[in-house]
């Protein structure tokens, strides 16, 4: 199968677009979470037509097809489980149309997230979803995972910003979805399907008008509980800032050592608040949030005075995970979402899970969304520590579900969490979900062995 697959792909698309040498393939076998199996071939298509031809050849040869953006995913979603063809969208990275009047753009899947905002800012627009990986991650990957980021609190996640899709199905044919004609919301179910339902080859995305005014503040608290309560109080007061981010002491110190962003290193937690909106309201808003922070025990309050200071504070937040390299050789980042009001209990459970398994843990999280990202510190070379990380991670998932939350807020299920999906969904729920797979990809050609548990009587196992 492998030889024929490679030969046919090379014949159809040429050596420039098809990689088959093992030293090339190895770069496509992993993501930011895991190493998977070596693909049999990597295709770098330049057009939708080339995607169609690739999918048809793969179908003829019985090979799986796995779409891939920048490989920054955190759940093994873009990692081939059974070889086959990896479709890398590095060369389909253009903005095809920019419609300023209607605030939308048609983009190719390989376009880097940040580039879209950078290239529309001149028109007074921006693309709202901004995962921490936005300097490298692609819109295709963001669509596959329904990526979030720190600004979901007021802007929502990727699915709220995708208007229409062009998709290649398992037979190598193109179909389009859109919100402006009657019919089922296929766009909504394709976003976040982790490449298991079809291959997105272009998308219309929504752009937003740049806010008139943006401010960023940093408050220091004695502990994360106090910071969390301040977050709830801000929301209860009827203010929905664009971001409410908390970092605990361990993360704050690591970030400050790495970025020198001006984070207080003596605090138990820092709260980063960003608010955007009409310029008339900013002073009143700042006064109100500062007052709430003080009432909840804030020990310091700082406003970013310039664009540079704002960027520095955000650089610290977005680089938080990487900064922990100073603490331990490796970290495992968890991703759970709980109802906001249960944040203190969820944080307590995270601390307990880490303690029980003898691990250091840092917390950096989207407090406004109830979306936690505990970073469990470990050394990959120590088998016992790896086992402890897995066990603590699962304990955190169980705790989140017990609090009425879910096992992934924004990273996805991929291969990482497929076996824990039944914590959230019953067999009936999962069977209903699997029917979607049957509608789009009955042959299970796209990204097999993802999302659905191998054990369940649905999906691949059927």
């Amino acid at each position: 199968m492998r030889d024929e697959l490679q030969r046919r792909l090379l014949d159809a698309l040429g050596p420039d677009a098809v990689k088959t040498a093992p030293e090339d393939l190895i770069a496509y076998a992993g993501d930011a979470y895991a190493q998977g199996s070596l693909p049999d071939a990597v295709v770098l298509p330049s057009s939708t037509q080339e995607v169609c031809r690739t999918v048809r050849i793969a179908a003829d040869c019985g090979a799986p097809v796995v779409p891939r953006g920048a490989g920054t995913g955190l759940c093994g979603g873009a990692v081939p489980a059974r070889g086959g063809v990896v479709l890398s969208f590095a060369r389909m990275n253009r903005i095809l149309e920019l419609d300023v009047a209607n605030r939308r753009a048609r983009v190719q899947p390989g376009l880097i997230n940040l580039e879209l905002s950078e290239r529309t800012t001149g028109a007074g627009l921006f693309y709202a979803p901004d995962p921490s990986s936005q300097k490298v991650s692609t819109l295709g990957g963001n669509i596959g995972t329904n990526a979030g980021g720190p600004h979901c609190l007021s802007y929502g996640t990727t699915v709220n910003h995708v208007l229409a899709l062009e998709v290649v199905n398992g037979d190598g044919e193109v179909f389009t979805t859109g919100l402006d004609r009657p019919g089922y919301d296929l766009t909504g179910v394709l976003v976040g399907s982790e490449g298991t339902l079809g291959i997105v080859t272009s998308a219309w995305v929504r752009l937003l008008r740049l806010p008139e005014s943006v401010r960023v503040w940093l408050a220091a608290f004695p502990d994360v509980e106090a910071a969390s309560e301040a977050v709830s109080a801000v929301l209860a007061a009827g203010i929905v800032p664009t971001a409410l981010e908390i970092m605990d002491a361990l993360i704050t110190r690591a970030v400050e050592a790495a970025f020198h962003a001006g984070y207080p290193t003596d605090a138990g937690a820092v709260l980063l608040v960003e608010h955007a909106g009409a310029r008339d309201d900013m002073d009143a808003c700042e006064a109100q949030i500062a007052r709430i922070a003080r009432e909840h025990g804030a020990i310091s309050w700082r406003a970013a005075r310039s664009e540079e200071e704002r960027a520095a504070l955000w650089a610290g937040r977005k680089g938080a995970a990487g900064a922990t390299g100073r603490i331990a050789p490796n970290y495992y980042i968890q991703d759970v979402c709980v109802p906001r009001s249960t944040l203190p209990q969820a944080l307590h459970a995270v601390g307990e899970a880490a303690r029980e398994h003898g691990l250091a843990v840092g917390n950096v999280f989207h407090a406004g969304d109830g979306n936690l990202h505990p970073l469990l510190m470990y050394d990959r070379r120590e088998r016992k520590q790896v086992e402890a990380v897995v066990a603590a991670g699962n304990a955190i998932l169980e705790a989140a579900v017990a609090l009425g939350g879910t096992i992934s807020g924004e990273h996805g299920i991929g291969s990482e969490k497929r076996e824990t999906l039944p914590l959230v969904y019953s067999a009936d729920d999962l069977a209903a979900m699997a029917r979607v797979r049957d509608v789009f990809d009955p042959a299970r050609r796209f990204n097999p062995d993802k999302i659905f548990p191998a054990s369940a009587g649905c999906a691949e196992a059927r």
Binding site: D99, A101, N102, T145, N146, G148, C152, T157, N160, T176, G178, L179, D180, R181, P182, G183, Y184, D185, T187, G188, V189, V191, G192, R209, E212, S232, L235, G238, I239, V240, A278, D280, D281, C337, V338, P339, R340, S341, D369, G370, G405, S408, G409, E410, G412, I413, V424, Y425, D428, D429, L430, A432, M433, R435, V436, R437, V439, F440, I451, F452
Partner: protein
Amino acid sequence: MSDATESFEPADVEALRTIVARCAREGKPIAIAGGGTLRGIGRRAAARVIVSTRALTGIVAYEPGDLTMGALSGTTLAQIRATLATHGQFLPLDAPFPERATLGGTVAAAWPSPRRHRYGAVRDLVIGIHVVLAGGTDVKAGGMVVKNVTGYDVGKLHIGAHGTLGILWRINVKTVPLPSRARAILAPLPEGTGARAVGYLHALSVEPHAAWWITGFEREIEEREGEEGLLAVRFEGSEATIERATRDLRMLLGKAGVPSARILDAEADALLQRIVNASVTPLGERSVTYRLGGLPSHAVETMRSFRSCARDHALRADCIVDLCNGDVIVRACDLDAVAFAAKAERFDDAVHALAPNAVVIACENAIRDDLAVWGTDAGPAELFRRVKDAYDPDHLLNPGVFVGGI
């Protein structure tokens, strides 16, 4: 045609499951009813059993600090509004006749709210659903959290499915803090000013929360129109922002040659509701109302071509153009039901030649059954059919109601 002989109002999910399972065993199709406020949308279900969600009422989960709420599907939007308001919050779904409209019906129809460019559409506000599928199985999708990528977002399929994939019995949504103030500014448009006034709106430094160009709805909206109708703009926010927006708008209106504008503060919400109600209000049996989803930059041109199309058919056209979202609502009418029925089919063809995605949202004349109520743009029809077959293989839920006869 519907000739219902049995009707049910289950009060809990067990009762609902029992009815649906029994109908599945007996092969009886079910028509699903909510508050009946959007009856003008879609075809009538070919079913002799009616299941109403009327008794499935109540807010079952509400933690104001979480900005989330869960309610049973038969809860009316007015009930939800009253409860959330006591905590300074609201659910920004502006659907017609909220005292009768149910949350389930609003979600099943994915009603296009005029404030969705600011607050999100139904699909953006729903975070979880519980639904009884055709065999009687109760399943959930999503939950009570605002970010969730735990498997496929199956809930999206049910939003806007018009009950053809399952019966929604509980829905979880995001809530939003009420704005501190809202203001509507109403400007009757003299001859030759409409397009200019509308064209200036994008120059406002404060983005409106809603803006409409309305013609021919004086009776429903209870506002005097000029020769070219009425411009209605809604702002929300602090007093300072609203005052600045008002000054800006008055200045632009002056430049466009619009002499006067009226301010509504206390009545701003009532006006919004009257406009939304008007969009589905027929003129007895002598009218048909279409909704055309489109792009804001094309909306005025679309409205013009529809007016001229109606004129060509000797019909009067009343219009509401949602300038922020690009929707165009056109209500075409004649002097009486008979005259209207004689022209409706040809007009329907002409409408769909202009806009294949035009959907009928209100029509009480029997001629409705002969109109292309879902438009003529079939979209990925084969995929739609496969979705329907996957969830309701025997076509027992609201059969025939939706696009393509599914």
